[in-house]
C-alpha cells in the first residue's frame, strides 16, 4: 500500500514523462507479480485516495484563494488519475479479472458525472485501456457509453485531445461486433445511445476529431438499424457540416479539406436508409443557383454520385429521386459552361444508368433502366435538331445509352436513327459536324464496351451476340458516303471539318467487331464494304501525287492527316486493306516520270512514303476474322513485310533522281523506327532479353535463300508463311522476327549499294543509319554469331556482288560498327586485320573532306569499343598501334612542308577523333600520347596551329556515332580526366612572358581554349583565375599575323567569348576583377569584327553576337556601381550596334542596350 502511495506521490510531483512512465511500469509490475490479487489492486486504486477526497471544494461563492487551491488540486488530481490510467496502459491486458475490470469501469465512469475538470482526460484514457482488456464484457461497453454520455454539455469544454481520446473510445466500441450487438439488443431501432452521442458531439469543429466522428456516424447508420426518426436525427448531425471546408492553418495537421469532404460523403452514402433525406437535401443545395461555387457544386455532384453508387436496392433508394435529379442536372450540361461541373454531372448520370443496370453478379429488372433512358431521350431528342444544343444533348444521350451494354443494345439503334434523320436536314456545316462527332463517339464507345464485355455480367456478352447491327453497317452507305461525296470537292474549312469527322468515323466503323451466335469475333463490316472504304480514303491519300502543283491548291493538310489516321485504324483490323493501299500508291508513284521531278513531286513523294510507313508500321495489326477469306494468313509482321517488299520494288525510282531514291531509303529508316517503337510499346523495352542466348546465324540462313529472292517482285512475302504464322500478335517473338526481317532487308540493300547513281550520299547515310538501328537492337551474342564485325568491312558482299570502292562506302561500315557491342568487336583487333589496315591507311584521305569524316568516325568507334582485355594481349597491342600511328603521323606531318593545310586538316581530324574515342573511356595509353600532341601543336610550322585548334575534339567525341544507346563506352567523368592531363599543365606555358616564344604561348592558349570550350563549367572552375587571364588576353590583344593566322585568331576569340558566357551563367562573381578588361575587350571585338569580310563572314558575325551577349549579361549580374564608369561609352557603342546588318546581332544588341539603359 505504502509503496503504491509513494509511487503515486512521485508521479504527481514528477514533470518528466519518462519518470512517470517508469513509475507506472513499476506499479503495473507489482500488480502483475501479485497476479492481480484483490488486495494489491485495491491498494493500487486507493493510492490516489488523498487527492480524491478534496473533490467537492470548488462550489460557487468560495474565496479566491480557495479557488486557487482547488485549481491546484485539480492539477494533482488529474495527475493522480493519470497515474492509474498509465498503470493500466502498462499492465498485462489479460491479468485483471472481470469483476476488477467492472469495478474500475465504474470508478472511471463515475468521473464523467462528478469530475468534469480533472477526471476526464485520464478516465478516457483508462477506459480505452480497460476496453482492450481480455476480460472486458460487451455489457460493460454499454455502461461506458452511458457513463460518458453524462458529460453532456461539458463535453465540448474538454480539450480537443481529450475529446479525441473519447471519440476513439466510441469508435472502438461501435466497431466491436460484440458490443454493437449488445447495443442493438438493448436499444433496438430507437438507438437511444446514438441520440445521446449525437447530443454529446453536436458541436465538434476540430478536423481530426471530425474525421473519427464521421466514421462513428457511418458505423451507426450501416451496422445498427435506426428507425427513420433516429436516422433523420443522425442525418441532421452530419448534413449540418455539408459542404465542409477547412481553414488553412499555419501548423498543418495532416488532414486536408479533401479528406473531410470524403468523410462527409461517406456518411451520405453510408446506407440507403439515408436516401429520403440525402437526395432532397443535396438537390436543394444544388438548386441554389449562382450562390453555389464551382467547387461546392462539384462536391455536391460527387456526393450524389457516391450515394447512387453505394445505396443498395435502387428501386427503393434511387428510382424515386431520378426524376428530380435529372430535372436539376440536365441544365448543368445543356446550358453549363464550366468543364468541371459538366464532367461531374455526366458522372452522376452515368452512375444512375450503371446502378439501374445492375452489377457484375446481379442484374436488375430491365424496365428500371429503360424508364430512365426514356426520360432522358424524351427531353433531349428535340435538342439534336437545334445546332446550339446538339453537342450537349448528344453528350447526355451518349452518357446514359452507353453506360451499360444493355442500355447500348436497346437504344443505340434509335439513337443513331434520330441522328440520321437530323443529318438529312442539317442546319449548318457545324451542325453536320457535331452530329457526325456524335455517331463517331457512339462507335468509339461501342469499341470500349465490346472490349470490356468479359469483365461484366455474363448477360452482357449474351446481349452483344444478339444485338441488331444492320443500322451500323448501313452507316457507310447512308451517312458517311453521301456526305463525303457531296463535300469532297469543297475546300471551305468548315466543310473540311465535316470531312475530317467522316474520315475518322470510317476508321472507327471498319474497326468495329461483332460477336456471332457461337461467340466468335469477326469484323462487323463485310469485306467488300471495308474494301470500298479503304479505296475511298486512299484516293485522298495519293491525291497530292496525282495532281500537279497548280491543281493542288489546298494548303491545309489536316484533312489528309486525319485520313492517314483513319487508314491506320482501318488496316490494323482489316489487314487486307494495307495491301490495297500499297498497290494503289505504287501505281501512282510509277505513273509519274521521275527522271527530272519538280520540287512539288519530290515533296509529294516524300510525304506519301512517310504516310504509308506510318499507316502500316506504327502499330501491330490485330487478328480479327472477316467474312471474306484473307489474301494472306495473318501475321503481326504482315504489313511491315508488305511495305519492305514495296520499297525493294520501288528502288531505284530512276537513275537520275537521286533525291527521290534517297526518300525511299529514308522511309525504310522511318518504318524501322516506327515498328521498333510499336514493339517496345507492346512488348516492353526488355522483351528481347528472353532471346538473348540465341546463337543462330541469321546471315547464314539468308545465304541459303535463292540469289534472286531479294529482288523478287509482286505479291511475294519475304517472310515464309510458316514462319510468319508461327507467332501471334501478343508474342514478343514478333520483335525478334522484325529485327531478322530488317537485317535481311538491310543486307539486301547493302549488297547492291554503290556510290554511283542511283545511289547518293544521302541514300547511303539513310541505309547506314537503318543498319545501325537494327544492329544495335541485337544482343552481343547474336552479333557475334552473325559475325557482324566482319560484315562491317565486307558489307555483306560476296564475290558476285559489285564492290563498292568509293570512300563513301565507309558510311556503310560506320553504320554497322555503330551498333555493335564492344564484345562483338574483338575480331577487329586482330594484328594486321582489315580494321587496322583501314584505319592506318592514309592514301584515300586526300579526295574529299567526307573521306576524312568517315575515317574519323570509324577511328572513334574502333578506339572506343575495344573490349577490356589484358595489357599484353595481341588485341591491345593492335589498338595501341592504331592510336600511335595517328599521333606519330601528325607529329611528323606537322613539320613537313609538303602537306597543304587542307590535307593536314583531314589528317588531324582523323587523328583527333581516333584518340577521342579512347579518351571517352579513359584509356590510360592516351596519357602517353598527350605529350606528342602538345609537341605537335607547339611546332613552329603553320600546321601546328591546326593541331592546336583541333584539340577540343578530344573532349567532344561525336555523339552521333558514340552514344550510350549504341553501346559506346563513355565514362562519366572523362572530361574531367582529360582536362587534368590535357590542359592543366599548359596554363603556365600559355602565359606570355619576355623569355617565351610568342608563337608557342599563342598555340598553348588556343589549345586550352579549344578544350575548355567543350567542357562543362564544373570541370574548369578551379582554374578560373588563370583561365580568365587567358580569356582577357585573347579578347584584347590583336595578334601579329606571323604569330596567329586570322582564322585562328577569330576562332580563339569565339572560344573565349563562349567560355565567358558560360562563366557568366555559373560564377559571375569571378569576373569582378576583370570587368574593365572584359568590357573593353568585348567592345573591341565587336568593333573589329564589324568590318565586312566575305570569307570570314560567319565567324565575324558570331564574334559580334557573342560579344554583345557578354556585354548584355553584365548589367544583369553586377550592381550598378561596378559598371557606372563604363556606361556611357558602352551605351553609345550598343546604340550603333542596333544598326548591325545581321538581324540576330541586332536582336542581341537591343537586348544588351535595354539592360545597359538601366545603368545610370
Amino acid at each position: 500500500m505504502a509503496q503504491f502511495k509513494q509511487w503515486a506521490l512521485e508521479y504527481v510531483l514528477a514533470d518528466d514523462e519518462p519518470v512517470q512512465l517508469q513509475l507506472t511500469k513499476k506499479a503495473a509490475k507489482e500488480i502483475e507479480d501479485s497476479r492481480a490479487s484483490s488486495t494489491v489492486v485495491g491498494n493500487w486504486a486507493a493510492s490516489v485516495h488523498q487527492w480524491m477526497t478534496l473533490t467537492h471544494s470548488n462550489d460557487d461563492g468560495q474565496m479566491e484563494d480557495e479557488d486557487e487551491r482547488a485549481n491546484g488540486d485539480i492539477v494533482s488530481r488529474a495527475k493522480a488519475l493519470g497515474f492509474l490510467a498509465g498503470t493500466l496502459e502498462a499492465l498485462d491486458k489479460t491479468i485483471l479479472r472481470p469483476d476488477q475490470v467492472q469495478r474500475l469501469i465504474g470508478f472511471f465512469g463515475a468521473m464523467f458525472s462528478y469530475d468534469h475538470k480533472a477526471g476526464i482526460t485520464a478516465s478516457a484514457k483508462a477506459l480505452r485501456q480497460l476496453y482492450s482488456m481480455k476480460n472486458f464484457k460487451p455489457e460493460m461497453g454499454i455502461k461506458v457509453l452511458e457513463d460518458v454520455s453524462k458529460l453532456k454539455e461539458d463535453f465540448r469544454l474538454q480539450t480537443a485531445v481529450t475529446r479525441l481520446e473519447l471519440y476513439e473510445l466510441f469508435l472502438s466500441l461501435v466497431e466491436d461486433p460484440a458490443v454493437s450487438s449488445e447495443l442493438q439488443h438493448k436499444y433496438g431501432s430507437s438507438c437511444g445511445f446514438a441520440l445521446d452521442l449525437l447530443q454529446l458531439c453536436s458541436s465538434e469543429r476540430d478536423p481530426r476529431n471530425l474525421m473519427i466522428w464521421f466514421k462513428i456516424i457511418r458505423r451507426l447508420l450501416t451496422e445498427f438499424s435506426p428507425s427513420p426518426e433516429v436516422t433523420e436525427e443522425i442525418f441532421k448531425a452530419f448534413s449540418a457540416y455539408f459542404p465542409i471546408s477547412l481553414r488553412s492553418s499555419a501548423t498543418p495537421i495532416g488532414i486536408t479539406a479533401e479528406d473531410l469532404k470524403e468523410a462527409v460523403r461517406n456518411c451520405f452514402s453510408s446506407h440507403q436508409r439515408v436516401a429520403p433525406f440525402a437526395f432532397p437535401f443535396l438537390m436543394q443545395k444544388l438548386d441554389q443557383g449562382d450562390a453555389v461555387t464551382v467547387a461546392v457544386k462539384v462536391d455536391i455532384l460527387r456526393t450524389i454520385k457516391a450515394c447512387i453508387e453505394e445505396y443498395e436496392n435502387p428501386q427503393a433508394s434511387v428510382v424515386p429521386y431520378i426524376k428530380k435529379i435529372w430535372g436539376s442536372l440536365k441544365y448543368e450540361v445543356r446550358n453549363g459552361e464550366v468543364k468541371e461541373s459538366i464532367d461531374a454531372t455526366i458522372e452522376v448520370l452515368r452512375a444512375i444508368a450503371r446502378k439501374l443496370d445492375g452489377s457484375k453478379t446481379h442484374k436488375h429488372e430491365v424496365t428500371l433502366l429503360k424508364n430512365y433512358i426514356d426520360l432522358v431521350f424524351g427531353d433531349c431528342k428535340d435538342d439534336l435538331s437545334n445546332p446550339t444544343y446538339t453537342k450537349q444533348a448528344g453528350l447526355l444521350l451518349l452518357t446514359v445509352v452507353t453506360a451499360s451494354i444493355k442500355g447500348y443494345v436497346f437504344y443505340n439503334a434509335s439513337f443513331i436513327d434520330i441522328i440520321r434523320q437530323n443529318l438529312r436536314q442539317p442546319k449548318s456545316p457545324t451542325h453536320t459536324r457535331d452530329l457526325l462527332l456524335l455517331v463517331n463517339s457512339i462507335l468509339k464507345t461501342r469499341i470500349e464496351l465490346f472490349k470490356n464485355r468479359k469483365v461484366g455480367h455474363p448477360d452482357d456478352e449474351e446481349q452483344l451476340r444478339s444485338e441488331p447491327r444492320t443500322h451500323l453497317v448501313s452507316l457507310f452507305h447512308d451517312v458517311y458516303l453521301p456526305i463525303w461525296t457531296g463535300k469532297a470537292s469543297e475546300s471551305d474549312s468548315k466543310e473540311s471539318d465535316v470531312l475530317k469527322q467522316v474520315a475518322l468515323g470510317l476508321g472507327l466503323l471498319v474497326s468495329q467487331q461483332a460477336l456471332d451466335t457461337k461467340g466468335e469475333v469477326s469484323l462487323l463490316c463485310s469485306g467488300p464494304i471495308c474494301f470500298e472504304i479503304c479505296n475511298l480514303l486512299t484516293v485522298t491519300l495519293v491525291k497530292p501525287l496525282t495532281l500537279s502543283s497548280n491543281d493542288n491548291q489546298s494548303q491545309d493538310a489536316t484533312l489528309e492527316d486525319d485520313v492517314v489516321l483513319a487508314l491506320r485504324t482501318i488496316v490494323m483490323s482489316y489487314t487486307d486493306g494495307y495491301g490495297h493501299i500499297l498497290k494503289t500508291a505504287r501505281k501512282e508513284i510509277q505513273k509519274r516520270d521521275w527522271t527530272g521531278p519538280s520540287e512539288y513531286s519530290l515533296e509529294a513523294l516524300k510525304i506519301l512514303l512517310s504516310r504509308l510507313a506510318f499507316i502500316g508500321c506504327s502499330e501491330i495489326p490485330t487478328q480479327v476474322k472477316s467474312d471474306t477469306e484473307p489474301e494472306h494468313p495473318y501475321s503481326p509482321l504482315r504489313h511491315y513485310d508488305a511495305w519492305l517488299r514495296t520499297l525493294v520494288y520501288l528502288f531505284p525510282l530512276s537513275a537520275q533522281s537521286l533525291t527521290a531514291n534517297s526518300y525511299i531509303l529514308s522511309s525504310l529508316h522511318a518504318s524501322v523506327i516506327w515498328f521498333r517503337d510499336a514493339c517496345e510499346a507492346r512488348y516492353g523495352t526488355g522483351a528481347l532479353a528472353q532471346y538473348s542466348n540465341s546463337d543462330k546465324n541469321w546471315l547464314a540462313e539468308f545465304e541459303q535463300l535463292p540469289g534472286t529472292f531479294f529482288s523478287q517482285t509482286e505479291g511475294q512475302s519475304i517472310l515464309p508463311d510458316e514462319v510468319a504464322s508461327s507467332f501471334g500478335e501478343d508474342d514478343p517473338e514478333t520483335y525478334l522476327q522484325f529485327l531478322r526481317l530488317s537485317l535481311f532487308i538491310v543486307r539486301g540493300f547493302y549488297k547492291g549499294a554503290n556510290s554511283e547513281a542511283p545511289w547518293s550520299e544521302q541514300a547511303l547515310v539513310q541505309l547506314a543509319q537503318t543498319a545501325a538501328l537494327v544492329v544495335r537492337s541485337l544482343d552481343e551474342k547474336l552479333q557475334v554469331s552473325c559475325n557482324l564485325a566482319r560484315e562491317a568491312f565486307s558489307l555483306f558482299k560476296t564475290s558476285e556482288d559489285k564492290p563498292c570502292a568509293s570512300p563513301l562506302s565507309g558510311l556503310l561500315t560506320v553504320g554497322i560498327l555503330q551498333g555493335l557491342h564492344p564484345g562483338a568487336m574483338t575480331e577487329l583487333y586482330q594484328p594486321g586485320g582489315v580494321a587496322e589496315k583501314f584505319i592506318c591507311d592514309t592514301s584515300d584521305l586526300g579526295s574529299s573532306p567526307r573521306a576524312s569524316d568517315i575515317k574519323a568516325a570509324v577511328g572513334a568507334i574502333y578506339s572506343n569499343k575495344y573490349p577490356a582485355g589484358p595489357a599484353a594481349s595481341e588485341e591491345y597491342q593492335t589498338l595501341k598501334r592504331g592510336l600511335q600511328f595517328w599521333t606519330n603521323y601528325i607529329k611528323n606531318a606537322v613539320k613537313s612542308s609538303d602537306i597543304d593545310s587542307g590535307s593536314f586538316h583531314s589528317f588531324t581530324n582523323v587523328a583527333m577523333h581516333t584518340v577521342a574515342g579512347a579518351v571517352a573511356r579513359q584509356e590510360k595509353f592516351v596519357l602517353d600520347l598527350i605529350p606528342i600532341l602538345h609537341e605537335a601543336a607547339a611546332s613552329p610550322s603553320p600546321n601546328g596551329e591546326i593541331v592546336a585548334r583541333s584539340m577540343g575534339i578530344l573532349v567532344q567525341p561525336n555523339s552521333e556515332v558514340l552514344n550510350k544507346e549504341s553501346h559506346a563506352n563513355i565514362k562519366r567523368f572523362y572530361k574531367q580526366w582529360a582536362y587534368n592531363f590535357l590542359v592543366r599543365p599548359l596554363y603556365d606555358l600559355a602565359r606570355p612572358g619576355s623569355d617565351k616564344d610568342p608563337k608557342a604561348t599563342a598555340r598553348y592558349s588556343i589549345m586550352i581554349l579549344s578544350v575548355v570550350k567543350n567542357c562543362p563549367f564544373t570541370v574548369y572552375q578551379d582554374d578560373l583565375e588563370s583561365l580568365l587571364r587567358l580569356l582577357v588576353t585573347a579578347l584584347s590583344n590583336k595578334m601579329d599575323d606571323s604569330v596567329l593566322s586570322e582564322e585562328a585568331a577569330q576562332a580563339q576569340v569565339i572560344a573565349a567569348l563562349e567560355i565567358l558566357v558560360d562563366i557568366l551563367a555559373n560564377e559571375p562573381s569571378a569576373l569582378k576583377g576583370f570587368l574593365k578588361e572584359i568590357i573593353s575587350g568585348a567592345t573591341k571585338v565587336y568593333q573589329e569584327s564589324a568590318t565586312s569580310n566575305k570569307t570570314l563572314h560567319k565567324t565575324l558575325t558570331t564574334c559580334r553576337k557573342l560579344s554583345l551577349q557578354v556585354l548584355g549579361a553584365l548589367p544583369k549580374t553586377f550592381e550598378e556601381r561596378y559598371l557606372l564608369c563604363f556606361s556611357r561609352p558602352t551605351q553609345r557603342m550598343l546604340a550603333s550596334a542596333c544598326g548591325d546588318p545581321v538581324r540576330k546581332v541586332r536582336e542581341a544588341a537591343r537586348s544588351a542596350r535595354a539592360n545597359w539603359a538601366k545603368v545610370v
Binding site: 492527316d561 516524300k606 522511318a670 543509319q769 568516325a857 552521333e960 550603333s1136 544598326g1139 541586332r1146 539603359a1157
Partner: protein, 196 residues
C-alpha cells in the same frame, strides 16, 4: 475611371499579324512526321570538322538590313493604353504605313535613314493619340541606332486633330520635355512592357 474612347475596337488575332517567321515554311506536323528530322535531316552526317557547315545558320546569319517589317516588329507589340491589346492587334500600326528612306536596298554605310510611321487611331477623336505616338517614337529611339531619324504621324484623315498631334510629335523639344514627366514616363514604360 475615365470612359474609354472606343469601347469596342476590332481586334486582329496574333496569327493574322504580318510576320517574317511565317514566311519561312514551317515543318509539317502530320501524325507521321515523328521521324522526319531523323530521316530527312538537312545535315545528313555529323562528324568531323567539315560538317559544321550549317544551312540554318547560314540563313540566320545572312545580311539583312533594317526594313519595314523590322520596324513593325519593334512597335507592334506596344500595348494600347486603354485596351489589353497591342497596337498591332488594334491595327493602329500597319505594315504598309511604315516607310524607310532610303529603302534598305539602296542604303550604304552609316548614312542617315528616315523612318516614317503613320498611325491609325481606332477612332478619329482618340484622346490618347499623342501618347501612342510618343510611345512609338520612344520605342524607336530606344532600339534603333543614332543615324536613324523618326517621323511619327497620324495617317491623313484618321484623326480629327491630326495636324496638332503631328506638330506635337514632330517637336523635339516637346518630346524631350514629355519624357521628363514622371507620370507620362510611367505610362510609356507600362505600354512598352509587352515589348521583348
Amino acid at each position: 475611371m475615365r470612359e474609354v474612347d472606343n469601347a469596342n475596337p476590332s481586334i486582329l488575332n496574333v496569327s493574322q499579324l504580318p510576320s517574317r517567321s511565317r514566311k519561312v515554311t514551317t515543318p509539317r506536323q502530320g501524325p507521321d512526321s515523328k521521324c522526319d528530322n531523323i530521316v530527312y535531316s538537312k545535315r545528313p552526317w555529323l562528324c568531323g570538322s567539315s560538317s559544321s557547315e550549317d544551312e540554318d545558320l547560314e540563313e540566320e546569319y545572312g545580311e539583312d538590313p533594317v526594313d519595314a517589317q523590322d520596324i513593325y516588329d519593334l512597335i507592334s507589340p506596344i500595348s494600347d493604353p486603354e485596351h489589353p491589346h497591342t497596337l498591332g492587334q488594334l491595327s493602329v500600326v500597319q505594315l504598309p504605313d511604315i516607310h524607310l528612306t532610303p529603302p534598305p536596298a539602296e542604303r550604304r554605310g552609316d548614312k542617315l535613314v528616315t523612318v516614317t510611321v503613320d498611325l491609325t487611331p481606332t477612332v478619329n477623336h482618340c484622346s490618347l493619340a499623342t501618347v501612342i505616338g510618343l510611345a512609338v517614337r520612344y520605342r524607336l529611339e530606344q532600339t534603333l541606332p543614332p543615324n536613324y531619324r523618326f517621323d511619327v504621324r497620324m495617317k491623313d484623315g484618321s484623326h480629327a486633330q491630326d495636324d496638332q498631334v503631328n506638330k506635337q510629335l514632330g517637336d523635339k523639344e516637346r518630346v524631350a520635355a514629355a519624357l521628363e514627366n514622371d507620370t507620362l514616363k510611367g505610362m510609356l514604360d507600362k505600354m512598352l512592357e509587352t515589348c521583348v
